[in-house]
Symmetry: C2
Subunit: 123 residues, 2 copies
DNA sequence: CCATTACATCTACGATTGTCGACGTATATA
DNA sequence: TATATACGTCGACAATCGTAGATGTAATGG
């Protein structure tokens, strides 16, 4: 369970692959990140690196490669958040929530929902 | 208010400077991060880079330089957390808390405290 | 005064990441 | 069939970051 390190641009690619319901080809990926303005080869490099890193699996389908995530979005997010909690908040998730609270906008609805989540966990 | 990017090792230095109650010299910094096993020059490089980046101010005091944070720990943490919320959770702080909750350990006490914080904000 | 010490500065090197251009090939099309 | 098209692969370059050796200098201890 090693921690793969995925760069910001690479992450955008991962998001597209995650959102796709199954294996997705580079053409579709390119289409999905059109607004980033990346050249075709740039995207190809990201894909190759993500495969190298073990974040994606590639399978040949016809002339193109199709990609599947080897780590779930959920898992990856957990890893990242854990890393931040450890490196920035001395391991205290509570402290992190406090910081979040200070810097981000929560609606009253959000808060209600969160309290509900908390209640469910607390017993 | 630009976003300074501080590396993991650099961050350890920042923590020491933050924790110091005032300007702190490189000797004391070195002492404080002894357990990292960094060479003196390594630490000096980090300090120089942090000054370049505008994260620290340096003032000459006798023969040594003394450092003061130009960004507070609080502010920096907010920035980092905001960045993650934006890049990983589509801007939804609520989603981030959910992920946190899934991956980290909260004690019942933590939860009580957090709910209290929430209540105070919610009105 | 001379050697040791305590610092700061400069340069460097490897890994990672963002960003391609150049190439080679296979497929589809005029 | 001669080409344009669509892809994948390689190599490259600049910036950032972790890490540190080499060098220069000023203060200190004998």
């Amino acid at each position: 369970m090693k921690n793969l390190s995925i760069g910001d641009a690479e992450l955008e690619i991962m998001k597209v692959v995650w959102r796709a319901g199954g294996p997705i080809g580079s053409a579709a990926i390119g289409k999905a990140v059109e607004e980033k303005g990346w050249k075709r080869t740039t995207i190809a490099t990201f894909l190759a690196r993500l495969v190298e890193k073990g974040a994606l699996a590639a399978e040949q389908r016809g002339k193109a490669l199709y990609y599947t995530p080897l780590i779930s979005e959920r898992e990856y997010k957990k890893q990242r958040v854990s890393g931040i909690v450890k490196s920035l908040f001395d391991g205290s998730a509570k402290e992190m929530v406090a910081a979040l609270f200070e810097g981000e906008n929560f609606t009253d609805e959000d808060i209600e929902e969160l309290k509900a989540v908390f209640d469910k966990k607390e017993k």
